[in-house]
């Protein structure tokens, strides 16, 4: 089961590798990202960031969904990562067993950042991403923002109030 699906534009990095895998007690990390799945350099940096003793799979979003729905995934706590909301929505619509979705860091390095909708200091969304987030928030799974475990969980619905509809 997915203990947490995290949206983070840096995928695996310091916060994720060190803090969250400990906090969530997840032996397995799955990165669901089409670019990472086809780019050797990106895969190398992600492997470098994976803590010793944790297992890592890097898959395209479609392949990752098949892994999440593998019967063996039922008994393993998995930490899943995407780098955008639209990929997370695709997973949430196709995978029934997700404890929570953490929209943590997203969109801050996008090229058209000046046209972005700012939901919080760590969430900047394009029109497409904002539409995906609204769909995500309507699903029957908790969706929240929590950058590090010592932050409170802020429900996404309350952050969506920060942008015009």
């Amino acid at each position: 089961m997915i203990a947490q699906l995290r949206v983070d534009d840096r995928l695996i990095h310091g916060q994720v590798a060190l803090v969250w895998t400990k906090e969530l007690n997840t032996p397995g990390i799955i990165v669901a990202n089409d670019n990472a799945a086809s780019n050797d350099m990106v895969q190398m940096t992600l492997k470098m960031a994976t803590p010793t003793g944790k297992k890592l799979l890097i898959r395209s979003v479609d392949d990752a969904i098949r892994v999440f729905n593998n019967p063996k995934a039922k008994t393993m706590r998995i930490f899943a990562l995407t780098n955008n909301v639209t990929d997370a929505l695709k997973i949430a619509q196709a995978v029934p067993d997700i404890d929570g979705i953490n929209v943590a860091n997203v969109g801050r390095f996008a090229e058209d950042a000046k046209n972005a909708h700012q939901l919080s200091s760590t969430i900047m969304l394009t029109d497409v991403e904002l539409a995906s987030l609204k769909e995500l928030a309507a699903l029957d799974v908790p969706v929240f923002n929590q950058v590090v475990p010592s932050n409170a969980k802020t429900p996404i619905t309350s952050l969506l109030k920060n942008v015009d509809n």
């Binding site: 060190l18 803090v19 400990k22 895969q43 190398m44 892994v67 593998n70 590090v148 010592s150």
Partner: protein, 136 residues
């Protein structure tokens, strides 16, 4: 919970605290000394930490042989349950801060051994894990 003081020449200590805060939100667990930015007598701050910090406590310093480390050694070397670690880096501070095992000197030495500076070796051979291995 281990008490932690980090002490450096200039802003390395407060800079490490800033990095720790961004990575973990746990910056407030660290006491820092940025020495020699002004004429302030930082040895008093070392003594204050020793006098008030819960034990066990670890004092990290920037450089073996540097004067900050010397002052820490002079003040803390004979204190019970205070340990001095020098040549500090971000990795060791995070390792100690996020550690969940009960404190012991041998475990501290393990964390130190895992936190060394390392040359990044790029290897093209990164065999893809298969799903069978992942779930094993």
């Amino acid at each position: 919970m281990v008490s932690i003081l980090i002490a450096s020449h200039g802003k390395f200590a407060s800079g490490l605290k800033s990095s720790v805060e961004i990575l973990t939100g746990m910056g407030d667990r660290l006491t820092t000394i940025d020495a020699y930015l002004d004429k302030h007598d930082y040895t008093k701050d070392i003594k204050d930490f020793i006098a008030t910090a819960q034990r066990p406590a670890i004092i990290f310093t920037d450089l073996l042989g540097g004067s900050v480390n010397q002052q820490v050694v002079l003040a803390a070397a004979h204190q019970k349950d205070i340990y001095i670690v020098t040549q500090m880096n971000l990795a060791i501070i995070l390792a100690v801060l996020l550690d969940s095992e009960p404190f012991s000197v041998s475990h501290l030495d393990e964390l130190i051994a895992q936190s060394q500076v390392t040359r990044v070796k790029l290897s093209k051979q990164t065999p893809d894990e298969d799903v069978q291995d992942f779930f094993r």
